[in-house]
Amino acid sequence: MSISSGRVIVVGAGIVGAACAWYLMRDGHQVTIVDRAGVGCGATAAGMGHIVVMDDSPAQMALTRYSRQLWNDMAPQLPASAEFVPSGTLWIADDAEEMAAAEKKAALYKSCDVDAVVLSPAELYAREANLRPGLAGALLVPADSVIYSPCAAAWLVNDVCSQGGILIKNAEVKAVRDDCVELRDGRVLQTDISVIASGTSLAELLPQFPVRARKGHLVITDRAPAFVRHQLVELGYLKSAHATEADSVAFNVQPRATGQLLIGSSRQYQMQSAQVDHGILQAMLNRAFYFMPSLKELGAVRAWAGFRAASPDHLPILGPVAGMAGVYVAGGHEGLGITTSLAGGRLIADMLAGRTSAIDPAPYLPARFAAGSGRERWHHG
């Protein structure tokens, strides 16, 4: 199937919708983006903006590696407001067991052609002097980076609009049909293709997909330039922290281009309110202090919480929606939405163009959640 220069409506002006719109615009489609608020106001503003290769599964590795490449290629074009910083990621090993995990991870990354360097404690402290003494070492992934996602999304959207695309803000979508999108205000937008990238509210339009909201907290500090130089993540993040349904926290600190530090991370399911939950905030900060005690004295400017759209198998859902001609979905990116947004948008554009993609799109296809597949359910552990 190949459609060129068709009318496309992208529902959602977060980083995922923006990326879809951008690649579709480059393929010559007439793109309209619809968002119930503005650009990058949902999960895009609730995440850290860490562009990172992850290896929970081969499919996750393939997607994150490809997407990171797309970001690094795009970086020279991005405006300063997007605050792209090629900081690299330091995966911190708390003990010998985690150091062994770091070695294993390094080997896996190298086998996938991802640059990764095991650091001794001395090498680690030379890079990050504020970490507590007694750590076992770290794994450095140099080509990872950080970005300010709301402005990155805005740049993508503005680029689409400068090429003739249209952005409709403050417009809530009521329903999606094969040939049109209906807005709550009564407007009906005719289209050939629609791409649903509405983040945590995906189920409102496409209830067949098991996407649910996962709550996360962040704290931002006053400016403290050079206090931290790399994105720091504890390796325990992989082995325990976020694998279960239970509320969890992990050490995750990011240097911003402004000199501020962004501190995470927390995961909670079944939460309704986006209000800051002080219990989990305390746990999250105390976890950060465990790795970096000198953080305690820094000034906190703001804490906030937001929701990410999570799928049961931690992979995004990218592709055609069964039984709805011309309707595509790009959702369920969970905590990796900033990283995987570009690859996701590119895969969707490839599908519409009938082009072979750089990576196999099969693991991300919506069909995996077909009724009776067993994969549509949430598993524990």
């Binding site: 006053d222 400016r223 403290a224 402004t258 004295e297 000034g299």
Partner: protein, 82 residues
Amino acid sequence: MAEKISLLVNGGKITADAGVSLAAALMNAGFVRFGTSVMAEPRGPLCGMGICMACRVQVNGQRGIRSCQTPVREGMEVVLDA
């Protein structure tokens, strides 16, 4: 006459009346610019009542201290534009 105390500002000694705020002491000593903005423009106190954060200085190694809400203390080490 009020009791005089001395403090170090950017390494230099100034004196102030005991009980005055650090912001007042700094202004009396001739400091106009307390810091620079993110675009490197000079800034000084604005609100005088602890709200605008424009008068924040480093005191005894602690950054972000609002000088207008902080009484001077003998031997304080103050850094402007830290």
